[in-house]
């Protein structure tokens, strides 16, 4: 494997938090923990065999999802990937409707028709996820196109993985966004792997962001396990985009704590790499930084943890108590009226 070393985590010095708004810092933490707890619970439900379908967990990647989504306005939209639970929760999809969707219940955000691979809620700006790799990039550009044409000031953010940057749809989307200066941010969650395949095997360059120049677009690579760094990068790209400056490509270096999906132990990964990255878990790292900030007490943080835990428990109860969709509903929504 080429250049393992450059793929080991390069943890930068963290910026002090004093300059940041208390509520924002708090919310970043809360959402990261919400995602973590949600997915741990989902994993557990899977192992128990009570949850249907398949799941792709984003454990370890919470910082980029949360940092990115909290840098957006409520009216902005995101597109989600197959690994979309975290992105959904980060953008504000409720744990209840998300959990119910995973169970295929009628109270799910997509009425049980989508499932884990297609979660989303338009009312909070989360387009139900597209599971075909690369296909969401032009669609995100298209939403941005409508924003630009309608002069709404909204921005679209397209989540994708580094493996996706080798798809044709992605290429076409970046070019379209660049030539039409669309307010869209292409946000790469570079977790080094597409399923089992290391990025160095499928790209002869070091970073996805190097491709931005091929479209005349700004590109940057950042440490994706720091939610603050992601927040900064996305905020400034969104400001630019709103001001008519066009799209940007932001690459967040991060790592899956587990395998590609539930039945994958991820054994193809070198231990050196796994161990180094596991030590960079974004949540404890961020928690430590919060605790170092005088505005956050341990008990306040533990209160967040506890509140999240009951949110999750409640969401499971909600989902289990919800009805399955009626058989007739299978025939609805094939065509819009």
């Amino acid at each position: 494997m080429r250049a393992l070393t450059i793929r080991l985590p390069q943890v930068p010095d963290f910026a002090p938090l004093d300059a940041y708004d208390h509520d924002l810092l708090r919310e970043i933490y809360r959402r990261m923990v919400l995602i973590r707890q949600f997915e741990l619970k989902v994993n557990e439900l899977f192992l128990q065999g009570v949850m249907p379908g398949t799941i792709h967990l984003s454990l370890g990647q919470e910082a980029s999802a949360v940092g990115a989504c909290l840098a957006l306005e409520a009216g902005d939209v995101i597109t989600l990937t197959h690994r979309g639970h975290g992105q959904a929760l980060a953008k504000g999809v409720s744990a209840d409707s998300l959990m119910a969707e995973l169970f295929g219940k009628v109270t799910g955000c997509c009425r049980g028709k989508g499932g884990s691979l297609h979660v989303g809620d338009m009312s909070v700006g989360a387009l139900p996820a597209i599971a075909i790799v690369g296909a969401s990039s032009p669609i995100a550009a298209g939403m941005a196109f409508a924003f630009k044409r309608g002069e709404t000031g909204q921005v679209a953010l397209n989540f994708f993985g580094e493996g996706t940057a080798n798809k044709g749809d992605w290429h076409e989307a970046l070019n379209l966004a660049a030539i039409w200066k669309l307010p869209v941010i292409f946000l790469c969650e570079n977790n080094l792997y597409g399923v089992s395949t290391h990025v160095t095997e499928v790209m002869a360059i070091d970073y996805v962001a190097e491709r931005a120049s091929a479209y005349g677009m700004p590109g940057s690579t950042i440490y994706g396990n720091d939610p603050i760094a992601v927040h900064e990068a996305v905020k400034s790209a969104a400001d630019q985009a709103r001001a008519g400056g066009g799209p940007a490509l932001i690459e967040c270096l991060t790592y899956r704590r587990g395998g590609h999906k539930r039945d994958d132990p991820g054994a193809y990964r070198p231990q050196e790499e796994v161990q180094a990255w596991l030590r960079t878990d974004p949540i404890p790292a961020y928690r430590e930084r919060l605790l170092a900030d005088s505005r956050f007490s341990l008990s306040a943080i533990e209160a967040i943890d506890a509140a999240v835990a009951s949110t999750i428990d409640a969401s499971v109860e909600f989902a289990l108590a919800s009805a399955a969709p009626t058989t007739e509903s299978a025939w609805e929504h094939v065509y819009a009226d």
Binding site: G120, L127, G142, F145, A146, R149, D169, E172
Partner: protein, 346 residues
Amino acid sequence: MPTDRKQSVQSTSRQLTVVQALREAVREEMRRDEQVFVLGEDIRIGGSFLFTLGLLDEFGSERVLNTPISEAGFVGLAIGAAIQGMRPIIDFQYGDFIFTAFDQIMQQCAKLQYMSGGQVSIPLVFQLPTGASGRGAQHANSVETVFCGIPGLKIATPATPYDAKGLFKSAVRDNNPVMFCVHKHLYGSKGRQLAESSISRGHVPDEEYLIPLGRGDIKKRGQDITLVANGLMLHRSLNVAEALENEGVSVEVVDPRCLAPFDTDLVINSVVKTSRLLIVEEGSERGGWGAQLAADIAGQAIGFLDAPIRRVATPNVPIPFSPVLESAVIPDEARIRSVILELMDH
């Protein structure tokens, strides 16, 4: 009983080509609703079949967009814009190029409404020149066929200027993706050599009208046999039917106009009367829309039939370039005629 084609020779009527009728439709809809816009390759100069000729002047480059050669990209972009409330019309140079965007059609556009539990809808029209026109296999696909089996899409295949205009306006107002497939020989665009250019002109009223998607039309009444055909094949079929009328064979010619939704009832009612069914389409026989129709009739009305259900279609070959070969494989009037006569012998 006058057919649409017959109306076309009434001297008082306003005569347009299909592409003129389509341009009127798109212009009227763009005036009516400013969310409607058009995008595609080279459409500022009119596009391949002159569907967008003159649009730039009236609506400006904000609503008439030249795209890069990026079919998957701009189809996806149109989907996104539609999700956010716009009503894009994509002009394809040749419908054949849509296969490079097939995932966006099959997996995204057709399904997002459903997968999202109705959270989004995608009002999006694809203007797709279809069929063979002397350019070899890669420019000769009957694209409508490929979309027939995809739930979530609507498909129109108008054959006359009147139908083209009325259906196009409905397509633009529909809240679903509509594949609007017009045979390359039917536009009547200037500068295009049309094998049968006379059939591209026809009556289009001054007043506004809509034709609902999914309603077929009996283009010629008859008693002895039901012939279902669309697009270019409709014209060839009508020519045969008119000639046979003088020979004592009364052919009822049904134009489904749309392949999805398909007006199966119209065909059934006709078959109940005639007891014979012939389906004529340009696409290759295996997997054509005619197969679906034949299956539906064999499932729902087999008891009314006095003869086998026959189909005339292109055999299962790619379309060859050489003009002699192209005409050998694509159904012509002689083949249609002879199968009608065979069926009348039953």
